[in-house]
Structures are given as C-alpha cells and as structure tokens.
C-alpha cells in the first residue's frame, strides 16, 4: 500500500441499473485493475487524489455484487466514511426507492457518515426527475446533492473530489475522532465498548445540497 495521508472508504448504494459501477469506473479508470468483482464478489476501486497537497486515498466500494440481497443490512455501511446514494434521473422508480434506502442508512450506518445523493445519467434525454426534486429530497434528508453523467464524465470527478475534501475537513475538525488515517467509524453498536464520545455530527455540516451545482442539462 502506497503512502497516503488519509484513507476514506466510500460505499455506493442504490437500485440496480442506476449506474453505480459506471460511476466508479469512470472515476478510477485505469488506476486500479477492475474486475475483482468476478473473483471476490465484491468490487472496489481505489483512487488517490490530492487535496491541499496531501494524498488522500479513496476506496470506493461498489455494492453492485450485493444486489442479490433483497435488502442490504447494517453490515454494508458499518465502517464507511461516506455513502453515495445513487438514483437514475430517467427512472422514477429508482427515485421512489430512496426512502427505503435512507431508512436502512438511518438504521444501520454510523450517524457520522457523510451522505451524498447522486442523480446519475444526466446524459439521458428522457429525464423524469427534474433537478429540483432531487435537490429538495436531499435537503429534506440532510444530504449533499449532485447530478452526474457517468457516460459523459460530467461531474464524476467533482463528486469524488468533493467527498474527499469534505471528509478531509471532517477529519481535521475531529469529526471522526481519529487524528490520522481514519479507521473504522464506530457504528451505533451496543456491543461496541470502544465507542468514542458521541458528538452531534449533523450540526457540523448540516449544510445540505451544497454541490447542487451545474449539471449539464
């Protein structure tokens, strides 16, 4: 493992077919040999980005292989630093499922996890979900929001860079309660005796929908 200042684990979730894998591939293309999913069943990609002159290693875990699970339980969010919830702007059903996904996140993921809503496939002509709908949803649920196109590579880089930046800031501000090389986030786990003193995470970055910025449409 090469040298880096911080390591962040990002997990992508969302309905099948919304383009999760494409997003990651687009971002990490060529940097990590893809395709381990075929031998391990779970795929992840690594990209090291530089934020303020420091190397940040992003490990992006794709749950595409887990779609056989009717619902992904606690286990998948346990020690992620950021969760990217993806829907397809040309498919209402994928948006309608967001509350379900959120419920799971609320239930299982660490309260400190950074949550980002991504409307993918902005290249599609047949948009069903206007940007403001996603934006409102994100606002309501205290999430960051961005629209991307994995196909056109729109906003993909930005998505991950923003996440890296945000996480770096959070680490520096002590949000994760670990000064260097963030390890696991402790989930709200009764059996976890080493739970760090609880903070109120939301207050620190309640600023939702920050990146609503420019989607290409």
């Amino acid at each position: 493992m090469e040298d880096y200042k911080f390591l962040f684990k990002v997990v992508l979730i969302g309905n099948a077919g919304v383009g999760k894998t494409c997003l990651v591939r687009r971002f990490t293309q060529g940097l990590f040999p893809p395709g381990q999913g075929a031998t391990i069943g779970v795929d992840f990609m690594i990209k090291t980005v530089e934020i303020d002159g420091e190397k940040i290693k992003l490990q992006i875990w794709d749950t595409a292989g887990q779609e056989r699970f009717r619902s992904i339980t606690q286990s998948y969010y346990r020690s992620a630093h950021a969760l990217i919830l993806v829907y397809d702007i040309s498919s209402q059903p994928t948006f309608d499922c967001l509350p379900d996904w959120l419920r799971e996140i609320e239930q299982y993921a660490s309260c400190k996890v950074l949550r980002v809503l991504v409307g993918n496939k902005t290249d599609r002509e047949d948009r069903e979900l206007p940007t403001h709908v996603g934006e409102e949803f994100a606002h309501r649920h205290n999430m960051y929001f961005i629209e991307t196109s994995a196909k056109e590579a729109d906003n993909v880089e930005k998505l991950f860079i923003e996440i890296a930046k945000e996480l770096t800031q959070l680490v520096r501000s002590g949000h994760f309660d670990k000064d260097s090389k963030v390890g696991d986030l402790s989930p709200q786990d009764v059996s976890n005796v080493t739970l760090p003193p609880t903070r109120e995470p939301r207050s620190e970055f309640a600023c939702c929908s920050r990146w609503i910025s420019s989607s290409t449409t």
């Binding site: 493992m1 390591l7 684990k9 997990v11 395709g35 381990q36 999913g37 075929a38 031998t39 391990i40 069943g41 779970v42 992840f44 690594i46 490990q59 875990w61 595409a64 292989g65 056989r68 699970f69 009717r70 619902s71 992904i72 339980t73 606690q74 286990s75 998948y76 969010y77 346990r78 020690s79 992620a80 239930q107 299982y108 260097s180 090389k181 390890g183 696991d184 402790s186 786990d189 009764v190 059996s191 976890n192 005796v193 080493t194």
Partner: protein, 932 residues
C-alpha cells in the same frame, strides 16, 4: 439463494491447471498448462495463478489448501492447490464442489503421475474425471485410467454436518483453535464482524476459514470470503463491510492495523483471538453455556459433535423461526413476521434476536426457507431435525408435565413401595393390579392385531420355525422392581404399551446366530426393555430423562392399537413397492454402484424386505418413548431394541448382504460366505479395481475383504445403538407421520453417541467409518415423514447408500483406517500414521507435525467408559458370530483393534487379529500406514 454453492454443478471437475510460481520480481505466477484446453473462463484463469501463489510462504512439506473465487452472482468456485516443497509449480483443481478431501487426494494422484512422467495416465485420468458424472455426495467414485488403474475416492457429503476426523478443515480448525476461541469466532460471525485469520501455513488458513463458515450452518457467510488472500488483493482487508479472510502472516505485516480498524483477528498458529467486541458475552447465557459444555466435553471430538454443538446453539437462537411464519392472504404467500419472531422469545433472548434480524446471514437464511415453503417444498435437513429435537425438549408444557411426572414418581414411587410391602394399603395394591390388568387387556388386543398382521405376512413368507412367547416378563412378575412403578403416574399405561407384544428376553442371546437356523424375537426384547427402563427412571428420580420422552409417555395408550391397523395398511401398500424399491436402490447409487453383485436372495425378496420393514416400524414405534429416554439415561438395557432395528437397517443399507429381517420379529443373519459381494463391483466399471503401483493406494478390494467388512457394519451398528441407521428403514415407510416422528426423535436423541461409542466396540470397528457417514443420512431419510417434512427433492434423490457407496474406509473396516486414509490422501508424503496414532477414540492431527509437534501427537482424552454389561450380555452371542465372520473374511478392521476398548468378547477379537495377520501376510500396522 443463500447458498454460495452452485446448484447442480455440471461436472465434478471444472479445470485442472499447473501453475508456475513467481520467478523473481518481475514475473508473476502463470499457468503453464491446463485441462481441458477449452476452459475459457478468463476472469477465473486470470486469478488462479495469484490465488495459487498468494504470497511468499515457507514450504517444507506438501501443502494442500483451497481458495475460493466468488462470481458476481455470489457463487463460489473452489480451487484446490497442492504445493510440493522445492517444486516450481503448483497443481490446481477448480470445482464447484466443496469436496476438499476428494480433490486433495486426486491432486496427490496426479502429482505422482507427473513426477513419474506418466503423461498418458495423467491425460486419461483427467479426461475420465472430466467426463465423470457428478456423483452424489457421500458416495464413492472410481475413475479408471491408464491400463486397468483406478482412482478411488470418497466424496464427502457436504449436506451433512462435517465430522472429525473425516473433514480435514474442521479437524484442522478444531486442532488449532480451542473451544473458547472457536466460540469467539462463531459469535463474531453471528455479528457479521470483519474477521481475519492469520497463519503461517496456507493449509491451516484455508481450513480454518472454511471450517468457521461450516459451523454457522444452516446459515452461510454472505460476505467477502477469501480463505487465502492473495497479495494483490490486500486492500480487501480494509473493506468496510463484513469479511472472513485468511491472511498469511507475512502478508499481515504489510497492512496497517489502523487502516483495518475494528476487526476480529484470530492467530491460528498461536491460538489467540483479538477482538474489540464482546460478542460472546452478548449471546444469551444459556446458549453460551450449552455450547461451552458441548465443546469442552472431551468425548465430543470425533464425529459431528463439534459441528452439532454449534448447530444446537443456532437452534436455540433461531430454531423457532417457523413460529413467526405467517400466511399472507393477499398473495397467498408465507411471510416472516419479525416482530413475532422477537416476541416469542424469552426476554433475555430478545436483544440478540433483534440483532439477528439485521444480519445478512440470517435474512438470507429466512429468505431461503421462505422461498422453499412458497414453492411448495419443505425443508428437511440437519437443522430442521435438530429443531424438532429441541422443540421436544424445550416445550414448556412438556417441561411442566415432566416436572410433575418426576415429582409424582418420586413421591408415589416410594410410597407405593412401602405400602405394597407392608400390605397396609389395599387401594394401592388394587391400583397396581388394575393397571396390570389394563396392560393385559391392551396386550391382548394388540396381540390379536399382531396376529392378524402376521397372518397376512405369512402369505408372503415361509412360516416361522418358532413362535415367540407371548408372555412378557413384567406380566409374569419376573421383575422384582415391578411394584415400584407408580400406578397413578401417566407413564405406566404407555410405558407398558410396548410390552404388549413382549416375550422372553433370554431367547435373544441364546438363539442369535448368523445362520438362518436361529432367530431373534424382537418382541421379547422390546418387552423386556421398557420395563427395565422404567424402573431405571424411578431409581434415578428421572432427573436425567428427557422431557421429550415424557411427552411421548403421556400420549394415550390406545394409539397402539391404531398403529397396528395403520401399520397393516402401510405394509400392504408397500408390499407391492418393495421389489420396485429394491430395484431402484440397486440402480440408484450413481455410476459407481449399479451393483450386480447384490445377493439376489436378499435384495429381491419382497417378503424379506417387507417384513424387516415391519419389524423396524414396530419396534421404533413402540420404543419411541423409551429410546430417547434411555439415551439420556445411558441405559444400555434399551439396546436390544436398537439392535433389532439396526440389523434391519443394515439389511437395507447394505442391500442385504449381511443380515435380513424375516418375519415380523425375526432376524436371520445371513452368512455372507456364500455370497459374492464386492462393493466396488459395478456395471459402470467393468473391471474390478486392482491395486495401483503406488504403495499408498487403498488395499485392493478383494472380495474377501469387502465381504468381511460389509459384514461388520451390521455388527458395529448394534454397538452403535445406531438408531439413526435403524431409521433408514423408516424412510421406506414415510407414510405414517407418527412413526417417522418417533423415529426422528430417536435418531436425534443420540447425537453424541456416534463418536463416543466406537472406542467401546472396538471389534465392531468398521462402524466408525460408517457412523458419521450414516447417521445423518438416516436422519435425513427419517425426517421425510416428520411434520417438519422432507419433500425436498434434493434429499429424495439421495438413495440409501448401498454397500458400493460405503466409504473406502468402511471397507477397510476402521475409522482409524478412514482417518489414515484421509490423512494420507491429503499428503503424499507418507507420514507415519501408525496404528498407535489411529486408535479409535483418539484424535490425531492429520497434517504432518510441523509447527506444533506436541499437538500433533496423539491426544487421548476420550475417557474409557465402563463396559455395559447388559449390552455385552445381549450382544455376546452375536459378537461371537460376527467375529467368526470377520475372521473368515480377513477383516482388516479387526486387525487394527484396540482391545482395551473391546467390550464384546475379547478373546475372539484377539483370535481374529491373529488370524487376520496371518492371512494378510504381515503386520497390519504397515498396511494402514500405507493405506491411502
């Protein structure tokens, strides 16, 4: 669904590769040759070299390990590797089947061919294996190659619980990791932690990872599963989701622990676990204490005891999931009600059970069961079976009844004794009398019905030479303890019911011989048994009796009469099918067993088959109560019933090569001498297997050997009290749920018995190989008719193992042999698996002692149990005959005997050993040492 195994794999072997190890820095491992060349799974082929050479590791002796490749649909492909010290290449077999032992053995054979430069053999062997039809789990494969050479190996039955020592993975795990740490890992898996196992040795790594997964059965690990982590995938240790990964020590040092975060780390070399959690403590106390007790009991080593201990823990935790199933009107589907699932548990279980609902492994488990139910299939497996046993035990109602019963018996038993003796209480006396009278009436009735049936049966068979006496011992007042039974206890009516078909016990041992001339009157035994049992209960205050048996005890007695009627029906309906069944059986055991060597006199006789079925049914029903109880009480008096059942079972299972039941209650022990019986002889493989050049090949299946050993299981079975085996016959009669159910109870009533007993019945050694193989199987069969049900076609397609499908070790006649065989098949370097090291009841590390020589040494922790006099008495005459049999046919099982453990007839054993040695021209120990 939840299973990670691919359903219905098309082939036994997917691919064979030879992989060249990494050369220096720049050049990674690569595949130098593969078979078949048409194998084009690029993703897999790309990965195989890395997985085969996952890291730099020491190699001082031959190492076998397995890796697992997970496809995107979550299914596993197993890779079996063999690394020889100094060799530049490793051999790899890819398969969808988790048959480690089989493939390790094949790897050894292939490696040998390559070393000897026998390329044509190699090719033909691979070709034949590749073409080989996927055998049924638990059967034996015989693959011909070259000139009249054969590769023979047993296919483990992965549908059953893994056994020690047959299952290498679990054996290694058990050996390397103590009970406490196994429990921590178990709990960590139930909490879906991120779990890392570390070892210097790849074989241990993969074994521990695989075994840890096997003990959470019926669930399966749903997350990242990498038995041996290749270097280039080291980042998977940072995965935020649960994983179970085996990491070589050298690789582990390259990872920053900070990055890994909270993970459970097991050092399998030093038997230490580091965990930031306290998962074991948060499991319900009684689950933990039971598990601990089951795991730490020194006798719980061999057989499936370790796996069963964990299974029981899971049954306690989730066994009642069915109570939370609901029928949804809208779409007519069965659904799972989570709230109910939690609510029905006792309060102290609820926190964990709630947590359990969130687990992927549990959700997959429930979904799988629901899918089955909704598609009209019922599931019957080890888990469901254990659940039914657990339900019997733990039903609170039953518990109460049981408590009351105990109190009653204690109070009244003593009181009655007094009053009867002093003759001051005529009321009690009359009560006793009236019960006796009632019993008499019941007896009379059932006798009548019984006669009816017998009359019908006589249409199909020769009249019996001798009829059993109808006067049961308890009626004659033979039993001095009779007055002690409490008349008011609900027990008596039912307890005595079995006796209504009773006779004189002495018949049993006196008449038993393997010749047809003698007969065994089962009714006599069955009558003698419950009586003794009953008194034993009282003597002990029934403190040890299982609640399950009380449950059955309190059932109304008239059932007995109904049973007869129903039995009759069953018999009638089955009569026509018996022949057919036999025919099916003969053809059913897969390619390796279309045996034409089955003695037709036995297997094709409907009358025989029918009557033996009847016997089993009869005795199983009558003793459904007492068997369980007697198991708990370790009351050997009940053995005659088992014996009766088991012999019949042996008839079925071995296609009648040894014994057969005749008449309602007669068992004729057929001398196998006249029969040409060769388990390996099959239509598929026209040539009889001949010994290979290799010294460590299995002994040639000489007919004599085969015959002798096939005669042995029957003997052993009695010693085993193999109710499970007995219940195999039940599978022929799935029609009557109550029968099957009672049999199911019996079967599972002795989970501990199988591994324990071999040590006691040394001359019956062959059962040891047989025991773990057969008991679960029969359990499966048994449960076909239980309320739990077994309409699972998966199991239905499993035919009763014929003699042909006996494990090779069974043919050898000894678990020690099985052990030695599994050891040696694992490593071609013939480590001295000496006779001393393979004594039954002892556990031996199968890997050549390397890291822990002390551990590798024999650990004899199995306590010697006192001989069971009653059993010995009853078996005495049999055993003599069986000894004769084994001697005559050069039993190898006997040659390996540990006469210290012999219960039955020591002299005979010694004799037979001597003879065997002479017959086989050499010390038997040598034979076993080279046995493959």
């Amino acid at each position: 669904m939840g299973s990670r195994l691919r359903e219905n794999p098309r082939r036994l072997l997917e691919c064979w590769c030879e992989v060249v190890g990494p050369m220096g820095k720049g050049k990674g491992p690569w595949i130098i040759q593969k078979f078949p060349n048409s194998y084009t799974q690029e993703e897999i082929l790309k990965s195989v070299p890395q997985f085969a050479f996952p890291c730099t590791f020491e190699s001082t002796n031959v190492q076998h390990f397995s890796f697992v490749l997970t496809s995107l649909d979550s299914k596993w492909t197993y890779g079996f590797c063999r690394h020889a010290p100094g060799a530049e290449t490793a051999l790899v077999l890819l398969s969808h089947l988790p048959w480690h032992e089989t493939f390790y053995k094949l790897l050894n054979t292939l490696s040998e061919m390559m070393t000897a430069g026998r390329t044509s053999d190699l090719t033909s062997c691979l070709q034949n294996i590749y073409k080989f039809e996927v055998p049924l789990p638990g059967t034996e494969i015989t693959v011909p190659y070259g000139d009249n050479k054969f590769f023979v190996a047993k296919c483990p039955n992965h549908l059953k619980l893994p056994t020690i020592p047959e299952n290498r993975d679990l054996s290694e795990y058990y050996n390397a990791v103590d009970a406490n740490n196994m429990m921590i890992i178990f709990a960590s898996m139930l909490y879906e932690r991120r779990i890392i196992m570390v070892s210097k040795r790849l074989s241990r790594l993969s074994a521990c990872v695989q075994a840890a997964n096997s003990v959470i059965y019926p669930m399966q690990w749903q997350h990242i599963f990498i038995p041996v982590l290749p270097q280039h995938l080291i980042d998977y240790l940072l995965a935020p989701m649960p994983f179970l990964i085996g990491v070589n020590t050298s690789l582990m040092s390259k990872v920053q622990m900070d990055d890994i975060g909270e993970a459970v780390i097991l050092d399998a070399d030093n038997n230490t676990v580091k965990t930031p959690f306290n998962d074991v403590e948060t499991l319900p106390d009684e689950v933990v204490s039971n598990l601990k007790r089951n795991l730490k009991s020194p006798s719980n080593m061999l057989g499936d005891c370790v796996a069963r201990a964990f299974l029981r823990a899971l049954v306690q935790l989730i066994g009642n999931y069915k109570e939370a199933l609901q029928f949804r009107e809208e779409d007519s589907k069965i659904t799972f009600n989570k709230e109910k699932f939690v609510a029905i548990r006792p309060p102290h279980f609820q926190p964990f059970v709630e947590k359990m609902l969130e687990l992927q492994i549990f959700q997959q488990f429930i979904e799988e069961r629901l899918d089955r139910l909704n598609s009209g299939k019922q599931t019957s497996d080890e888990f469901e079976l254990e659940v039914s046993v657990h339900c019997e035990k733990s039903s609170s109602k039953v518990k109460q009844q049981y408590k009351q019963f105990v109190t009653n018996v204690r109070k009244e038993g003593g009181a009655i004794m007094k009053t009867v003796k002093s003759k001051t209480n005529p009321a009690v006396k009359s009560a006793v009398k009236s019960v006796a009278k009632g019993g008499k009436q019941v007896k009379e009735k059932s006798r009548q019905t019984y006669k009816d049936i017998r009359g019908k049966i006589k249409d199909f068979q020769q009249p019996r030479a001798e009829d059993g006496s109808m006067s049961p011992t308890w009626m004659n007042g033979d039993s001095p303890q009779k007055p002690r039974s409490a008349p008011s206890s609900p027990v008596l009516g039912v307890k005595r019911r079995p006796q209504t078909v009773g006779g004189n016990a002495p018949h049993f041992s006196a008449k038993a011989t393997y010749k047809r001339a003698s007969q065994i009157n089962i009714r006599e035994e069955t009558s003698a048994m419950p009586g003794t049992h009953k008194y034993e209960l009282i003597e002990r205050g029934s403190g040890l009796m299982s609640p399950g048996s009380t449950d059955s005890l309190s059932t109304p007695s008239p059932q007995s009469i109904d049973l007869m009627g129903e039995m009759e029906e069953v018999i009638r309906s089955r009569l026509g099918q018996d022949e057919e069944d036999e025919g099916q059986k003969n053809n059913s055991t897969g390619s390796s067993s279309k045996s034409n060597s089955i003695p037709s006199s036995v297997s094709n006789s409907p009358a025989v088959g029918h009557s033996s079925t009847l016997t089993v049914q009869h005795s199983a029903k009558d003793h459904s109560t007492s068997l369980t109880a007697s198991k708990k009480l370790k009351k050997s008096v009940s053995i005659p019933a088992f014996l009766a059942i088991n012999i019949n079972a042996a008839t079925w299972m071995h296609k009648g090569n040894v014994y057969r039941g005749d008449g309602q209650d007669l068992i004729f022990l057929e001398s196998p001498q006249d029969e040409i019986f060769d388990p390996l002889f099959s239509k598929d493989i026209p040539q009889r297997p001949v010994p290979s050049i290799r010294p460590s090949q299995p002994p040639p299946p000489v007919p004599g050997v085969a015959r002798s050993t096939s005669s042995l299981p029957g003997v052993a079975v009695q010693g085993e009290g193999g109710v499970g085996v007995g219940s195999v016959s039940m599978s022929h009669l799935p029609a009557h749920p109550s029968l099957a159910r009672s049999s199911a109870i019996n079967t599972t009533g002795l989970p501990n018995a199988t591994p324990k007993r071999p040590s006691e019945y040394r001359p019956l050694a062959s059962y040891q190989g047989l025991g773990p193989e057969y008991r679960p199987f029969s359990s499966l069969q048994t449960s076909m008719g239980t309320p739990v049900g077994c309409q699972n076609p998966m199991y239905n397609q499993h035919k009763p193992p014929s003699a042909n499908s006996l494990p090779s070790s069974t043919r050898g006649g000894s678990a020690a042999a099985a052990f030695a065989s599994s050891m040696l098949s694992g490593s071609s370097d013939n480590q001295p698996v000496t006779a001393a090291a393979t004594r039954p009841g002892q556990y031996v590390q199968f890997e050549p002692p390397l890291a822990q020589p002390n551990k590798a040494a024999v650990t004899s922790t199995q306590p010697q149990r006192p001989p069971r006099l009653s059993q010995r008495d009853l078996l005495g005459d049999f055993s003599k005959d069986f000894q004769k049999l084994s001697v005559n046919s050069q039993s190898k099982g006997v040659t390996l005997g540990n006469n210290n453990n012999t219960v039955v007839n020591n002299n005979k054993v010694t004799d037979s050993r001597g003879e065997s040695k002479n017959d086989t021209n050499g010390p038997s120990e040598n034979k076993w040492a080279t046995f493959d």
